[in-house]
């Protein structure tokens, strides 16, 4: 063969090899919500970055399964390069040294803020001053309201109460409409409780996470809301699934639930009634002290390889940037985590024009997003179920103050505090 052609061919081969230099593996969970979105994100990203090939691992069924799988893969030494995990789950990976801190990639925080990453949103992925995760989708607890029941009970959407007192009164009136009609329901669950707590300006843990603080005055007030929902609002002893069936069926008036279920409820209610979304009331006087724990997903870097890390960082910037946020919001119903898409109508202006409920929900995220506190240590997940159990007791009649103080002591014991 002619030498020149050979060298040219070799050179070409090298160039194409280099063009495919980075091949990154992506892990995600909950295909029922995410599968189409993930495909779209990968396709658009690869169009813009032809030198990087994105391979998507078979998805995990849920965030818990996903973390399990990542832990197993880390033991076996075949971790993917980048992963989407639950906002409340990435700490399990961080605790085992699996995630890579992102601060060296972020560089100047001011520039990063200008790129649409607000301090509130960044805080969702920070532990001990280091950025380990970037939020990719967010949801907080909102109020779903059935306007037909409100009207029948003598209320109106225009004068809908904005305080818990008003809501409890209205709930009692709705509850009185019939045997199978219920006024209000809220999940007896760690995340929902943190929401009511944050609305009162409380926090579940102190700053250095050395003590639980949900037995503060704000915590007792939050637990009292559960108790009053039962005693004054006639809250039924539903399970989470019962309530999720009852609301779209039109027999539940007011339902405190994650904003991520908006599409599902709107679809399920169909022509039954028009689902209305309102923000969760903020009780604390200084509104800046209120926050709502944010559910959703975050993206973490797992690879050790420097070359792959730079490819992964480009991918992470894309999916958390305005273009990625637009794809995620339009396809999943989650709120965006990039502030540019909220301020610049070029991205989601049309979407919000036809989705007033989404606008309300997403505005709450933008105003009050806060971390979904994960309790530290090996018993961290287990205590969230203890919290849920105490909320069940309170919403069945136990005294909120005694119950929440006893719970705090139990949790301190479990977590080895004091």
């Amino acid at each position: 063969m002619n030498k020149a052609i050979f060298i040219a061919a070799l050179g070409f081969a090298l160039v194409t090899a280099q063009a495919q230099a980075a091949d990154i593996r992506v892990h995600y969970a909950i295909p029922t919500i995410w599968s189409d979105t993930q495909e779209k994100l990968a396709d658009v990203f690869m169009q813009k970055n032809p030198d990087i090939k994105v391979t998507i691992d078979g998805p995990a069924e849920g965030y818990a399964d996903g973390v399990q799988r990542l832990l197993r893969e880390s033991v076996a030494g075949n971790l993917p390069d980048v992963a989407y995990v639950g906002l409340n789950r990435w700490r399990a990976l961080e605790a085992r040294g699996i995630t890579k801190p992102l601060d060296p990639f972020i560089g100047n925080p001011m520039d990063f803020e200008k790129a649409g990453f607000s301090a509130a949103i960044r805080s969702l992925g920070i532990y001990k001053g280091k950025q380990h995760a970037l939020a990719t989708s967010a949801s907080t607890m909102v109020m779903y309201v059935n306007p037909d029941l409100v009207k029948q009970a003598g209320g109106s959407m225009e004068n809908f109460p904005t305080t818990f007192d008003g809501i409890i009164q209205l709930a009692a009136k709705i509850d009185a409409l019939g045997d199978s009609v219920e006024g209000v329901w809220i999940g007896r669950h760690d995340w929902r409780f943190q929401g009511v707590l944050g609305s009162h300006g409380g926090r579940p843990l102190n700053d250095d996470e050395s003590d639980v603080t949900f037995d503060s005055d704000a915590g007792v007030a939050a637990a009292t809301i559960y108790s009053r929902f039962l005693k004054e609002g006639g809250m039924p002893t539903y399970g989470q699934n019962d309530a999720r069936q009852a609301f779209p069926a039109g027999t539940l008036g007011i339902f405190f639930e994650s904003s991520s279920l908006l599409n599902k409820f709107t679809e399920a209610a169909g022509k039954n009634f028009k689902v209305n979304v309102l923000p969760t009331p903020v009780v604390v006087k200084d509104k800046s002290k209120a926050y709502f724990p944010t559910g959703g997903s975050a993206i973490v870097m797992l690879t050790d390889d420097a070359e792959k890390q730079s490819a992964v960082w480009r991918y992470m910037q894309f999916v958390t940037g305005p273009e990625g946020a637009k794809i995620i919001v339009e396809n999943t119903g989650y709120a965006p985590t990039n502030t540019i898409v909220l301020s610049d109508d070029a991205y989601l202006g049309n979407f919000y024009a036809s989705n007033q409920n989404a606008r309300v929900a997403h505005a709450q995220v933008a105003a009050h997003a806060g971390p979904w506190y994960a309790y530290p240590g090996p018993e961290g997940v287990a205590v969230t179920d203890l919290i849920g159990a105490t909320l069940v007791e309170i919403s069945e009649g136990a005294d909120p103050k005694t119950a929440i103080k006893a719970l705090a002591d139990t949790v301190r014991g479990k977590l080895g505090m004091k």
Binding site: L71, R96, V181, P236, N241, Q245, A389
Partner: protein, 300 residues
């Protein structure tokens, strides 16, 4: 070829037939059980790179912790309800359908299929159907109860009631399978035994049942009891899909607790301890049932 005696050649054949399966069983069952038993004495967490020997700590926690104890008590309660009711009901149904086959074979067959349906269907899908039926306010059953003026119980969210609701579903689910086993048992009872019993003075249906049917069904009943009990001990799907052990751990069972501790809380060592306790329970129960019942069972 080697000159082996007939006996050793047969032995070699036996080894070749049973060997691979034995080897696979050793690798896939016994070795994992040993590993699980070992982990139950450590503090191993999923994904952790180190582990520490903690002795019987995990077992002590399981017995002293109110949540662990509740899982054990709930499981025993579930077994205590499901086993007798499932056996009694399926025997009644089997005797009824066996008799019905004489005068209306096609109707008997249709009913058999209906009773067997819960066994053939996936329990998870069926559990969702139960969830709709038993919804506290918009479920068909409670709407009917409200309609006739009866109180409408919260089947899955009343802490005092939830285990009984799950047991009811457990019975519903196992009756069909046990019925098929009893039908097979009934089919092989020779008619001449009934004739002989009648000659001997067993004139009522009741007499014939106690002198012929029940003793002849002994081996079947033993088998049904062992199978139903081990299945009841393993109750998981209904708990996982309908209640997730809630409300407030009121429907926690051993296998669900094992799943929760190991796969949700990542406490592999504690989950291993639960596994061993579960294993001991099932083995003990099976051996006791076998020993006690076998004395009374007549194999023909």
């Amino acid at each position: 070829m080697f000159n082996l005696s007939r006996k050793s050649r047969e032995a070699l054949t036996d080894m070749m037939l049973a060997g691979p399966a034995t080897l696979a069983m050793g690798m896939l069952i016994f070795i994992p059980v040993i590993i699980v038993a070992f982990l139950s004495f450590t503090d191993y967490q999923m994904g952790a790179k180190t582990l520490r020997w903690v002795g019987v700590d995990n077992y002590a926690t399981l017995i002293s912790d109110p949540i662990g104890r509740r899982a054990i008590v709930n499981t025993l309660l579930y077994v205590a309800i499901v086993v007798p009711f499932s056996i009694a009901l399926s025997l009644l149904v089997a005797i009824g359908l066996h008799g019905m086959a004489d005068w209306s074979p096609s109707f008997s067959k249709a009913l058999r299929a209906a009773y067997f349906l819960p066994v053939a269907a996936t329990l998870v899908a069926m559990a969702l159907a139960w969830q709709m039926l038993l919804h506290p306010s918009i479920g068909l059953i409670n709407m009917a109860l409200i309609h006739v003026g009866l109180p409408a119980p919260a089947w899955f969210s009343d802490r005092g009631l939830v285990m009984y609701t799950l047991a009811l579903i457990g019975i519903w689910q196992s009756v069909g399978y046990n019925m098929v086993l009893f039908l097979a048992g009934l089919a092989v009872i020779p008619q001449h035994l009934y004739d002989a019993a009648e000659v001997d003075g067993a004139v009522t249906v009741w007499d014939r049942f106690w002198t012929v049917t029940w003793p002849m069904l002994g081996p079947t009943t033993l088998f049904v009891a062992v199978i139903t009990a081990t299945n009841a001990f393993r109750v998981f799907e209904t708990v996982a899909t309908l209640t997730r052990g809630g409300p407030a751990f009121a429907s926690d069972t051993l296998v669900y607790a094992l799943y929760r501790e190991g796969f949700v809380y990542f406490k592999v060592s504690y989950a291993s301890a639960i596994t061993i306790v579960f294993f001991v329970f099932v083995c003990t129960l099976t051996i006791v049932q076998y020993r006690v019942l076998q004395k009374r069972v007549h194999y023909t």
